[in-house]
């Protein structure tokens, strides 16, 4: 049997990584690390002498396989967090600290354990022979030799195809010097954007359609810029304003409104995969994530230059600050790097670390650069010129930084086990406990010491076994008292309890380059790569990484350099997409070889240059785009245009769009008059304890309940991963685990069910109806008109009034006929009244009552308006 495990151990070491393409691996000829060519800028680790490796193979590997691996390997989870199938795993050790110290057997926990002299006795119930222990001691003394990991030789091979791509692929090239095209007929042109757009149309023989009418236009621009519908007076003012700059005035008003910051912040939060919990297998709340959310809102509201915005999110902690509040803001900004999905249940620290770094690399590279760098974790990128060494050059930067998400990895565990208060950023001034709290902490510290002394005195003694009156042994009672005292101390001294904390990153305790991980396996350490940036973009005078620092500062400078064309193209394209509903490059998160090509490359570069010249101002760019003629077209179809360009890539009309989930909910709250436009303090997730959440547990139920009753704008709803509020979930909310540059727009029946039956919708419809019914002296025609104005921003046609009148009359009389006076309240229950209840006992099926048949009819009518496509589609 020993042999079987021996083989297992070796297969573990060579297990192919499942994310790699085996077809690629087959083609790879491997060479040993010791024969590694040093032509490339990576350094091999010193190999162990062959004799020592032979000793390991002969004596140590069988010993480990026979006695240890059954409990301590990656395959079985590594009890106590220790694994012996990997040298680094042994060095790193488990929950009790490092397992071995190469060169120093006396200080190696493994040796203490196998000697059965201390608290820890391994293997349990069996002691190794003296000879075996001596072998282990010798092995550690001689440096704990381990066979080298095979490094695929393509790791260092120059790739001519990469060089070619770097020189040729459009996205990596410097911005072109562009002058707007000259047009024979200038009548279309309002600003330079129109020259580019119209020139392309001319090339294809396309004619742009008519302009949108003023009502459609103000509705479009108000939703696009603020995520809210225009008010009736805003519509009237604009429609009645004959001034040539009437539209400009509207746009400037919208750009100044706080709602602009909220709407555009949400776009960035999609890209930043914002969420208020770790998600993944064990879902732990991030109760302070909202500080990052607010930071993003303020950045867009105040038009923080985009280069500064990015710099702060990557390296805010390393930037100079003029005031404590600016310092706090910069720290909070780094939450961008911390709020991703985390698998806290990962037993091995090294995997937890490398997985989180991968998450950071994926987020940074796709959100800011639209390149899929994380493909290069396991092998050189198959399409884009991103070698694995580039990936680990970036990884070294993040490896040199501490990820402060307030959580640690732990297999199993419960309660507050995953909460790591050392991994929080203290922000703001009040970062010390006040005198009262400090006194309590001191008292509690003493209480813990006393409880510990009491427990230790009883531990293992005969007296400890004596039963207390409640039937429990004294030792156990003392243990529980100690546990409680420790818990109380933990709660008291939680920095979040007496000061402001946030998530983010800080410089790591260990600064330095990291190694390539062969096939992406965290433990399969290959040669070290100097920290650096992606080679897809390089320019003269690139920042050089300060060896004393993580390199995030230089990464931020590289990303936001005026000479980095990719960052600029990507953000300009994102802004364009939010206004035209498809990007100039449609694959907004992927500008790589497999991504889309720009429909208007010159325009993209022109806008990028304008953007940089304007001081990286998002508002100025948005203003320029919406003031263009191209933005003001109607959504009309034109057969000849359609035949040539069905996807409307050449912007011959304005593509209609469905409102996003937040806009639908916010617009409903506007029609009901219930919307509270202020920013709520923090988030409902703030009060959550950092313990595992169950999707159907009490906290989740409370959050859903709060979301259902909230009247704040939708971006303030709690966004714990896996517990997305229903109002958002049904309408294609962003995937919170990933960079989401463009959302889906589906028409699934759950949306219709939501609009027909959800209490939130019915509550808004009821309030909407009560509002319309309010002035008693009015006639129904007038009320119908008002309802149309409120819901759609337009008057009802005579046909619509007729239809609505008939509907209201028939609905009301149907209710009276059925004698179900409170029909909505006393709805005829479905046949199986006992079924169809949520198992968690939530009140999702709350009744929304109307007071009489007339009110019921109007509520039903108003709900129909909210449910109609016109309410959620913009022409």
């Amino acid at each position: 049997m020993g042999m079987l495990f021996h083989e297992d151990l070796s297969t573990v070491l060579r297990k192919p990584f499942r994310l790699c393409d085996p077809r690629l691996l087959v083609a790879i000829t491997c060479l040993k690390l010791c024969s590694f060519a040093s032509a490339f800028a990576v350094e091999p680790a010193a190999p162990h002498a062959p004799a020592k490796i032979e000793f390991f193979e002969k004596k140590i590997r069988p010993l480990l396989a026979e006695n240890c691996i059954n409990c301590h390997s990656a395959e079985n989870g590594g009890r106590g967090g220790l694994r012996v199938d990997d040298r680094n795993g042994m060095i790193e050790g488990g929950g009790r600290g490092p397992g071995i110290k190469p060169g120093n057997p006396e200080e190696s926990l493994l040796i203490k354990a196998v000697r059965h002299q201390g608290e820890l006795e391994m293997p349990p119930k069996k002691q190794l022979s003296d000879e075996q222990i001596a072998d282990l001691e010798r092995w550690i003394r001689e440096g704990a030799a381990w066979p080298p990991i095979e490094v695929p030789d393509d790791l260092t091979k120059p790739k001519p195809e990469y060089d070619k791509l770097r020189q040729e692929h459009w996205a990596w090239q410097p911005l072109a010097e562009v002058t707007p095209p000259q047009l024979a007929n200038e009548s279309f042109v309002i600003n330079d954007i129109d020259r580019f757009i119209h020139a392309k149309q001319n090339e294809q023989g396309l004619q742009p359609v008519n302009d949108a009418d003023k009502r459609s236009l103000i509705r479009r621009v108000t939703f696009d810029l603020t995520g809210l519908p225009p008010s009736l007076s805003e519509i009237t003012n604009f429609v009645d304003d004959p001034a040539p700059d009437a539209f400009e005035k509207v746009v400037d008003r919208l750009l100044k409104s706080p709602a602009f910051g909220e709407r555009w912040a949400r776009h960035w939060l999609d890209v930043a995969r914002y969420g208020e919990s770790t998600g993944s297998a064990r879902n732990l709340p991030f109760p302070h994530a909202w500080r990052y959310r607010d930071y993003v809102i303020d950045a867009f509201t105040n038009d923080k230059p985009y280069n500064q915005f990015i710099r702060e999110q990557i390296a805010g902690d390393l930037l100079p600050a003029n005031s404590p509040s600016e310092k706090a803001e910069q720290l909070i900004a780094t939450g961008f790097l911390a709020l991703g999905v985390k698998d806290v249940n990962q037993r091995f620290k090294v995997r937890f670390t490398m997985d989180n770094i991968d998450e950071q690399i994926d987020t940074v590279s796709r959100s800011i650069l639209a390149v899929t760098a994380s493909c290069a974790r396991c092998h050189d990128h198959k399409f884009d010129p991103i070698p694995t060494t580039d990936y680990y050059a970036l990884a070294g930067i993040f490896h040199s930084s501490d990820l402060c998400a307030g959580v640690r990895n732990k297999m199993g565990g419960g309660g507050l086990d995953y909460y790591d208060t050392a991994m929080l950023l203290r922000v703001g001034l009040e970062s010390k406990p006040d005198a009262e709290t400090a006194r309590k902490i001191e008292e509690q510290t003493k209480a813990v010491a006393a409880a510990r002394a009491e427990f230790e005195a009883l531990r293992g003694t005969a007296e400890g076994k004596v039963q207390e009156p409640n039937g429990q042994p004294k030792q156990q009672v003392a243990r529980e008292k100690l546990n409680k005292a420790e818990r109380d101390l933990f709660t008291l001294s939680d920095p979040a309890a007496y000061g402001s904390v946030a998530y983010g990153v800080r410089e790591g305790a260990k600064i330095g380059d990291t190694e390539v991980r062969i096939r992406g396996e965290a433990e399969a350490v290959g040669p070290t790569v100097p920290r650096g940036f992606l080679g897809v973009v390089s320019f003269p005078g690139q920042p050089q990484i300060n060896p004393q620092q993580s390199g995030r500062l230089e990464l931020a400078q590289w990303l936001t350099s005026d000479r980095n064309p990719l960052t600029q193209r990507v953000i300009v394209n994102r802004i364009w997409q939010h206004l035209f509903h498809q990007g100039i490059v449609t694959s907004v998160d992927n500008f790589g070889v497999n991504g889309d090509r720009p429909s208007h490359p010159e325009l993209l570069d022109y806008l990028a240059r304008q953007f940089v010249q304007s001081g990286w101002s998002v508002k100025k760019l948005v203003r320029m785009v919406v003031l263009s003629h191209s933005y003001r077209l109607s959504a009309e179809l034109s057969a000849p245009n359609f035949a040539v360009d069905p996807a409307n890539r050449l912007v011959w009309r304005h593509s209609p769009r469905r409102l996003e989930a937040e806009e639908i909910r916010d617009a409903m709250l506007v029609t009901s008059g219930k919307l509270n436009r202020t920013r709520p303090a923090a988030s409902p997730a703030k009060k959550l304890r950092v313990v595992e959440m169950q999707n159907n547990g009490g906290e989740a139920r409370n959050l859903s309940e709060e979301a259902r009753l909230s009247v704040y704008r939708s971006l303030y709803l709690p966004l714990v991963r896996g517990v997305v509020p229903r109002a958002l979930e049904v309408f294609d909310f962003a995937e919170q685990g990933l960079v989401t540059g463009s959302r889906d727009s589906t028409t699934v029946p759950t949306q219709a069910l939501y609009l027909l039956n959800d209490p939130f919708v019915r509550r808004q419809a009821l309030a909407f109806a009560e509002h319309v019914l309010q002035p008693l002296e009015r006639g129904d025609d007038e009320r119908i008109q008002q309802a149309y104005q409120i819901a759609f921003g337009r008057s009802a046609t005579p046909t619509e009034i007729e239809r609505a009148t008939k509907y209201l009359m028939e609905f009301e009389s149907a209710i009276r006929d059925s004698l179900a006076v409170e029909v909505v309240a006393s709805a005829i229950a479905p046949a199986n009244a006992d079924h169809g209840k949520p198992a968690d006992g939530s009140t999702e099926e709350e009744q929304v009552d109307t007071k009489d048949p007339k009110s019921s009819a109007w509520t039903s009518f108003c709900q129909a308006l909210l449910g109609s496509a016109e309410f959620r589609y913009l022409p």
Binding site: L19, N70, N76, F188, P656, Q694, T746, G836, A869
Partner: protein, 467 residues
């Protein structure tokens, strides 16, 4: 001033849409009152691979002809102990109390095993009802997976990947993407009582696939959010008619969004679902003999029986992928009583489901899968428990497309490691897709610059088990 010349021309698309709506118009209201049960959409043959844009859920023919049209997955969450149930190891029974290979004390099963059926399949006394069905089963006895932690392993079983950073679509979502759904009046992918943790919604999510393909979660009392109409059907129909009239007005306008037909259809489907789904999930109308056969009873003890019966009804109605769940198999302790309880809850309903499917001829085109995220070790853990084992454990299949009374693969003499017919999770996925007529290497979706598959870059189809 800027109007194109083509304005006076009728847009061909608009006409198509209007015609479509006109055709559909005749059906509104009528459809709602027409029979709401058992209406199965005709199969439209389509040469184009992947779903069409307009009808993402329309049924699509499989890549190659197969028997299986749908799957029922009975998920035993928590990792059931195979050496006390499906996997008899005589050597383990003999070596009780000895030191096992690699350490630990071997512990024999406390339950009696005997042989059953023509095949003489060994089965423990915990499954007396299933003993009558062993000749229908196709055992996979050499499974292995990557992570011995429940959360990752459950996610890997459901999505193919345990990698936490990039959530992958669940296997049901892939099936929906590849095959659409048979009954356009029902969700095509339903999961009953899925685990609330261990990834939660990830296990039936669509991840980066379009939202049409996500699983619909219900509980064993048939709860689906927003499904209950808050008024009478007649009044709601009036309201929907008004909404649809407005929608058709909008659709008839020049430049209307392409999605309007989808919106209009979604209301009709929603209305039908309100009528149909509660009825479908209302098992109380089943004859008493059927309820008794499944062992339906109130309360938690009858949860799995209710789920089995619901699964049969949903499958019969054309739901492509139904998953039901029995939790609580994680027996680090209390193995003995725990198994008696859990096997007691699952034995009779599972046997009844197989018998019911067979009697209705549904085993010919329905594939049943039964099993856990991994197995347990032959060694003892504490006085009455077993720890996780990812290196060898069984699942079984029954029904469409697989051999009956067959066993593929094996673990070593104690049941620790798979030694023959080894199947990784991805091999299981590749094989399931193949049984459904899909090629796991061809069923791809491009996202973030990569073509993703359920099986990522691995997966072998185990044809040995094909009937």
């Amino acid at each position: 001033m800027l109007g194109p010349n083509g304005l006076s021309m009728r847009n061909p698309l608009a006409i198509t849409r209007r015609q479509a709506l006109k055709a559909a118009n005749a059906g509104f209201g009528y459809l709602a009152l027409a029979s709401l049960l058992g209406e199965t959409a005709p199969r439209t043959a389509s040469a184009a691979p992947g779903p069409s844009i307009d009808q993402p859920l329309a049924p699509k023919p499989p890549l190659y002809p197969v028997k299986a049209k749908r799957i029922i997955f009975l998920f035993m969450e928590g990792a059931a102990s195979q050496m006390d149930t499906w996997d008899y190891k005589s050597k383990l029974q003999q070596d009780d109390g000895k030191v096992g290979p690699g350490g630990g004390t071997l512990t024999a099963s406390k339950f009696q095993f005997s042989q059953h059926g023509q095949t003489g399949t060994w089965l423990s006394e915990l499954y007396p009802n299933m003993a009558r069905h062993v000749d229908k089963l196709c055992f996979l006895r050499g499974l292995h997976t990557d992570t011995p932690a429940h959360p990752q392993a459950v996610i890997q079983l459901h999505t193919g990947a345990a990698q936490a950073q990039l959530t992958r679509p669940s296997m049901g979502a892939w099936l929906m993407y590849g095959l659409g759904t048979e009954n356009q009046d029902l969700p095509g992918y339903i999961t009953v009582n899925p685990p609330a943790n261990f990834g939660g919604a990830i296990n039936y999510g669509n991840a980066f696939l379009p939202a049409h393909y996500q699983g619909t979660k219900i509980n064993d009392s048939g709860y689906l959010p927003n499904l209950k109409a808050q008024t009478t059907s007649a009044l709601q129909r009036r309201q929907i008619d008004l909404v649809q009239a407005m929608n058709r007005d909008l659709a008839s306008k020049d430049g209307a969004p392409d999605q309007l037909e989808g919106v209009i259809q979604s209301y009709e489907l929603a209305f039908k679902m309100q009528g149909k789904v509660p009825e479908l999930l209302d098992i109380s109308k089943e004859p008493q003999s059927v309820l008794d056969a499944y062992g339906v009873k109130p309360g938690p003890a009858g949860a799995f029986a209710r789920q089995c019966l619901m699964a049969r009804r949903l499958s019969e109605a054309g739901v492509r992928f139904v998953e039901i769940c029995q939790p609580g198999w994680d027996h680090h302790s209390n193995l003995h009583q725990g198994l008696i309880k859990n096997c007691g809850a699952t034995d009779q309903p599972t046997a009844a489901l197989l018998a019911d499917l067979e009697q209705r001829g549904m085993l010919d085109d329905t594939l049943v899968l039964f099993g856990s995220e991994f197995g347990r070790l032959p060694m003892a853990q504490g006085p009455d428990g077993r720890d996780h084992n990812i290196t060898g454990y069984p699942m079984w299949l029954a029904g469409a497309g697989v051999k009956q009374g067959f066993s593929y693969g094996a673990t070593d003499e104690y049941g620790t490691h798979a030694i023959e017919g080894r199947m990784h999770m991805t091999d299981l996925h590749a094989t399931l897709l193949a049984l459904m007529g899909l090629d796991h290497e061809a069923l791809t979706y491009r996202y973030a610059g990569r073509d993703f598959r359920l099986t990522d870059v691995a997966g072998n189809v185990v044809r040995e088990i094909f009937a």
